[in-house]
């Protein structure tokens, strides 16, 4: 069992529905977000290319945030999801410094907060909120060890990349290119 997500950069239109769905589902405070859209424009006219990505925590296999946490508040649960226990977090910021993806933020209440792959929804057999609302269905989620899961099927016939593989964290967000 290993949860992972694939994001089709050719299908994403950058509408930010996933961002709003997450903020609503997870009660994310105003001005913060657990997932976000990156628009990457390269080249110059008339040869311009645009790449749109919905990004969030990579739920790394070798998560530096978990390694650096002095209290064990950051931990990995079943399925490889990186979670933060709020009342064990002291708000020291070590995990924020250690994340190559800047996926964590300091919640106004003090503790550190981040994407949970909607673990509370997965327990009920539902998909993550961002995947459910995506109007172009460019997000694929599931167990990457199961060849019949959405994410495995999406990765099978397409080229993909992960972000900053040189950081050595073994990230689990796959971007279809």
């Amino acid at each position: 069992m290993r949860y992972a997500m694939a994001i089709d950069t050719k299908k994403c239109v950058g509408c930010s529905d996933c961002v709003v769905a997450c903020q609503t589902e997870n009660n994310v405070p105003h001005g913060y977000c657990r997932d976000w859209i990156v628009e990457n424009v390269s080249g110059s006219y008339p040869n311009v290319e645009i790449e749109l990505k919905s990004e969030r925590c990579n739920h790394c296999d070798d998560a530096p945030c978990v390694r650096c946490c002095p209290t064990g508040a950051s931990h990995i649960v079943e399925g490889g999801i990186v979670m933060v226990t709020h009342d064990e977090c002291i708000g020291c910021g070590a995990c924020i410094q250690s994340c190559p993806y800047d996926a964590r933020y300091s919640h106004p209440d003090g503790y550190v907060d981040k994407c949970t792959f909607c673990q509370h929804r997965l327990e009920k057999g539902q998909n993550t909120a961002c995947v459910d609302v995506c109007p172009t269905s460019c997000l694929y989620f599931g167990d990457i060890e199961d060849p019949n899961s959405d994410v495995s099927k999406a990765l099978k016939n397409r080229a993909w990349k992960v972000l900053a593989p040189e950081a050595g964290t073994k990230p689990q967000l796959y971007f279809l290119t």
Partner: protein, 313 residues
């Protein structure tokens, strides 16, 4: 022409557009921790070498400052926490992988030890001092018998504390400027140098100042070597680390780093110390103060600049 433009749909406080989650508290703590480690190390060392008589300031006077430095550092660390009421969670677990856990436990042992050391010399430093309660006198007499063992513990814990101030930063591989193993030794050496500067400033004995100035000169030379070594390592590394080094080689931290850290914080005080050893009369507080300011600025620069550096993708 090739242009690249990133647009990200977020603006999270202290994280966008660039990370700035650690403010003045961390560099101040790193400075005070290093300073305390420096003083404790030499207090322990010269006690073990049986030089208490010749090295009064090193063994007796300067260690009086250590508990204050550590407590102020701890206050700074506490102020930095965003979820302060839960700070005790640090002490319900030992996480060997996390440098911050190591640091928290080291401080837990080193702070009381430094207080015990200072207390054991209280009556010698302040002849009129009275502990008021008899049982405290008994405890102090007990401690004094074990000074030698304390000196060893002081020395070992000082090295752990000094190295930890650097490893705290170098453990974050997401920040290329910090992610170099040299930082542990560099911060230890820099901390030793600031500790020595403090002792030299407090010392009234010419012999003691001479001995300590000589040691300090070695530490300054090693520190300069390590800084050059660090920059060389960055320039020979990957793109992200080359960019990190550029912050000091033409980038926004160039002036403050080369002027306040390298020239005014290391080279100039070293020249003054050499002149002093050659017999010129130089007010002792000038090189000491410069070294202390240089050490503090160095930590501010490293913490600020390190947070800007990141992976590119």
């Amino acid at each position: 022409m090739k242009e690249e433009l990133f647009i990200s749909g977020r603006d999270i406080p202290n994280i966008d557009p660039y990370l700035n989650i650690w403010h003045w508290e961390i560099p101040v703590y790193l400075f005070l921790g290093g300073l305390a480690a420096g003083i404790m190390f030499f207090a322990g060392y010269f006690t073990i070498m049986r030089k208490e008589k010749e090295m009064q300031a090193t063994v007796k006077y300067a260690p009086m400052l250590v508990p204050f430095a550590l407590v102020l550092g701890l206050i700074a660390l506490f102020l930095d926490l965003k979820h302060q009421l839960y700070f005790w969670r640090l002490y319900t677990t030992i996480r060997l992988e996390s440098p911050m856990s190591w640091g928290a436990w080291t401080l837990m042992f080193v702070t009381p030890l430094s207080m015990a050391w200072a207390a054991s010399y209280m009556k010698e430093v302040f002849p009129k001092w009275d502990w008021k309660f008899k049982f405290i006198d008994q405890i102090i007499n007990f401690i004094i018998e074990y000074r030698k063992a304390m000196a060893w513990a002081l020395m070992i814990l000082a090295v752990i504390l000094g190295v930890y101030t650097g490893i705290l930063l170098s453990a974050f591989n997401a920040r290329p400027l910090w992610n170099t193993s040299i930082l542990g030794v560099l911060f230890l050496v820099s901390g030793m140098s600031t500790g020595l500067a403090t002792i030299i400033w407090m010392s009234k004995s010419k012999y003691e100042r001479k001995v300590l100035s000589r040691i300090d000169l070695i530490f300054i030379a090693v520190e300069l070597f390590l800084i050059i070594h660090m920059l060389m390592g960055f320039l020979a590394a990957s793109e992200v680390q080359i960019e990190a080094a550029q912050l000091f080689l033409g980038g926004e931290f160039t002036v403050v780093f080369w002027v306040f850290v390298i020239i005014l914080g290391l080279i100039f005080p070293a020249i003054l110390e050499i002149l002093e050893l050659r017999g010129f009369h130089i007010p002792i507080w000038i090189p000491s103060l410069l070294i202390l300011i240089g050490g503090l600025v160095f930590r501010f620069v490293m913490v600020e600049a390190g947070q800007i550096t990141r992976y590119l993708y």
